[in-house]
């Protein structure tokens, strides 16, 4: 493998470029119209335009991606996560073009990407699944039949997209009266996001935790499970904070979850990196939820506690190499790692998207801190894609130290020009429930509802005074250049001159 095309954008494209550089592989980028100046384009050896900004016309266009791969002479394609990462037709198209797909086989993607087929595979492997409907409901099933099926699964239940992932095409229904609307909304979202409107039902467990097991499988029949990730901190079914190891998983539970995960992966002949997601109930029982047949967003925390480079292993496995890692060490985490997904969203306005230009950026660094990002001052966060701008990761010897380190890093993190979820994380990591590890998948939605919109960016008399001082000095020095006649009117001419000089010097 000499040249790798990355069929993605943003921080994950940058992450893969870095692995390529360290392995002596030439990275090839693709970009949509609005990504012309994005970091992944500037960091790669070659870059190819693949169409307009809307994902359906660029990053989801299999034909244009294959064409770019051929034009560049790449011999492999890495899909990243999202976009076409779990699309078996893309994996097939890459293979049919004579290129290596850095990921599992099209068959494994198809089986595990279909949530009902994946549940069947887990049952075959002897792993318990969350109770639910075994068959998919396509768009033609009448409402009455849907209602009967829902009643047999039992409320509260989840309507989930068969092709789903990342919380899209998913709705919780507590009251049967809301069922039809929820099914409609889930289908519409699923059709837009995945091109498949089929949904199924799953019983909603009481206060479960989301715990997942990372796997690596090679083409020689070895499947190795890695230490679990705790991903229960979710907002509207989207993970926002992940950590490893889980504060509630004992070594014995870890061993049994790991072997269950490996059994499911082996049942479908899984190769490359993948993740088995489980729900863990309050009694320590776990249930297979689904498999993600790709690199996960939260893979860096596993890298921090195992010392592995998972992207490098993906590429090595795709090249046909054998995994020669010690299975015992993969389940023995070193220290503790936490990730915060920093989004371009306004936490004080219902987490509405906040796209736009980043005018100023100060990223944290120092001991144990990793910032996987594709954000830069002067660049726009486009409206077309996921609002993730950075993954902030903290590692330390133990969980309390990792939390302290993350809080320190959040304090250093400054993004101006757009709103971000940094103030929200600063609040969350100070909550006693988080510090004690007492939470479940609905915890965050519950506390957010209880807060009823109270702002996260809490100011004090001290910070307000400093803000007033800064605003006054800023206005005094920039008054003439902003053409604000009102404030400048009373100022002596000397002041104006000085201010102009000052702003010239400053700029």
């Amino acid at each position: 493998m000499r040249k790798l095309l990355i069929a993605n954008r943003g921080e994950i494209a940058v992450r893969i470029i870095r692995a390529c550089r360290e392995m002596g592989i030439s990275p090839v980028a693709v970009y949509s119209e609005c990504d012309r100046t994005a970091p992944h384009v500037r960091m790669s050896d070659e870059a190819y335009a693949i169409g307009p900004s809307a994902p359906g016309e660029s990053y989801l266009r299999i034909d244009r991606l294959i064409d770019a791969a051929k034009r560049s002479g790449a011999d492999a394609v890495h899909p990243g996560y999202g976009f076409l990462a779990e699309n078996e037709h893309f994996a097939s198209a890459v293979r049919d073009a004579g290129l290596t797909f850095v990921g599992p086989t099209p068959d494994a993607i198809a089986t595990m990407g279909n949530k009902t087929a994946a549940r069947a595979a887990a049952i075959r492997a002897g792993v318990p699944v969350v109770p639910g409907s075994e068959a998919a409901l396509d768009a033609n099933v009448p409402d009455a039949e849907i209602a009967t099926l829902a009643a047999s699964v039992g409320y509260p239940l989840l309507v989930k997209a068969v092709a789903g992932g990342g919380g899209k095409g998913m709705r919780t229904v507590t009251d049967p009266a809301d069922l039809a609307g929820a099914v409609r909304a889930a289908r519409s979202e699923a059709a837009t996001a995945f091109g498949d409107a089929a949904v199924y039902f799953e019983r909603r467990l009481v206060r479960p935790r989301h715990v997942e097991v990372q796997l690596l499988g090679d083409t020689h029949g070895t499947v190795l499970p890695l230490v679990e990730r705790e991903c229960s901190i979710q907002r509207r079914h989207q993970k926002v904070v992940e950590e490893t190891p889980s504060p509630v998983v004992s070594p014995a539970l870890r061993a049994s979850m790991a072997s269950a995960a490996a059994a499911v992966a082996k049942a479908v002949g899984y190769t490359n990196a993948g993740t088995i997601e489980f729900l863990l109930d309050e009694n320590g029982r776990f249930y297979f939820l689904e498999m993600n047949t790709r690199l996960q967003v939260e893979h860096p925390i596993t890298e921090m506690v195992t010392g592995l480079d998972l992207v490098r292993w993906q590429i090595r496995i795709a090249r046909g190499e054998k995994i020669d890692l010690d299975p015992v060490l993969l389940l023995a985490p070193r220290g503790h790692a936490i990730e915060c997904r920093v989004y371009a969203e306004d936490p004080d306005n219902g987490f509405l998207p906040s796209p736009g230009r980043i005018t100023c950026l100060r990223t944290p660094s120092g001991p144990g801190i990793r910032d996987d990002s594709a954000a830069a001052a002067g660049l726009d966060v486009p409206i077309f894609y996921d609002p993730l701008i950075s993954k902030l990761i903290a590692w330390a010897e133990d969980r309390p130290l990792a939390i302290a380190r993350m809080r320190r890093a959040l304090d250093e993190y400054l993004v101006a020009g757009i709103k971000t979820t940094v103030p929200f994380f600063a609040w969350l990591l100070a909550q006693p429930e988080f510090i004690d590890g007492r939470f479940h998948t609905a915890f965050l939605d519950d506390v957010l509802a209880a807060r009823n919109g109270r702002p996260f960016a809490e100011t004090t008399a001290e910070t307000e005074e400093i803000a007033a001082i800064a605003a006054a000095i800023h206005t005094a020095l920039s008054a003439p250049s902003t053409g604000d006649g009102q404030t400048a009117a009373g100022a002596p001419a000397r002041w104006k001159t000085e201010a102009r000089l000052e702003s010239l010097r400053g700029l």
């Binding site: 306005n349 998207p353 101006a416 005074e465 206005t475 009102q486 009373g490």
Partner: protein, 174 residues
């Protein structure tokens, strides 16, 4: 120079005077000596001192970023990593639009740029508080915009499938 500065709904009277190596700034009569050094177009390092030790702010050194807002006088000031919304001389610049928010027509505007995927109400329809009106898709998520209070829809300015800019007027409720 004298400014009226609003933060978190409270007005402060701020007077700024040039001194030898910086500024004397009085916030509601409390005087600070401030050495303000520009790092770049938006960043400042402030070193603050007070007349007496007991009156000192918690820190001496502050790293701040000032970002001009979309309208004159509006600023976002980051003190550390926390963004603080500031309005300078707001009363002089514009009449407060949020006055009397409990009466008069409700104008529902797009909070962010995006695509209208569903319009759930029509002119003449009565709506209850919190009823969903329009679904706008941005960044792959569908966001429901709801009525602030009950009323009758008088104007619908969008249809399904159109793209809207932030601030675009979507619906008016009487």
């Amino acid at each position: 120079m004298h400014y009226e500065i609003e933060i978190a709904g409270r007005l402060r009277q701020v007077a700024v005077t040039r001194t030898g190596d910086g500024f004397a700034v009085a916030v509601d009569g409390r005087l600070r000596q401030v050495n303000a050094t520009r790092i770049d177009a938006q960043r400042w390092s402030l070193v603050v001192s007070a007349e007496s030790k007991s009156d000192m702010p918690a820190r001496v050194s502050y790293d701040v970023v000032t970002t001009p807002g979309p309208v004159g006088g509006a600023l976002t000031v980051h003190v550390g990593s926390i963004p603080i919304s500031v309005v300078v001389n707001g009363r002089r610049r514009w009449r407060r639009r949020d006055e009397g928010a409990g009466s008069g027509p409700q104008r529902v505007a797009a909070p962010m740029p995006g695509k209208v995927v569903r319009v759930l109400v029509a002119p003449g329809e009565t709506v209850r508080a919190r009823q969903p009106l329009v679904v706008v898709e941005a960044m792959k998520m569908e966001n429901e915009l709801r009525a602030g209070r009950a009323g009758t829809v008088s104007e619908v300015h969008v249809r399904e499938g159109v793209s809207v800019d932030a601030g675009a007027l979507l619906i008016v409720i009487q």
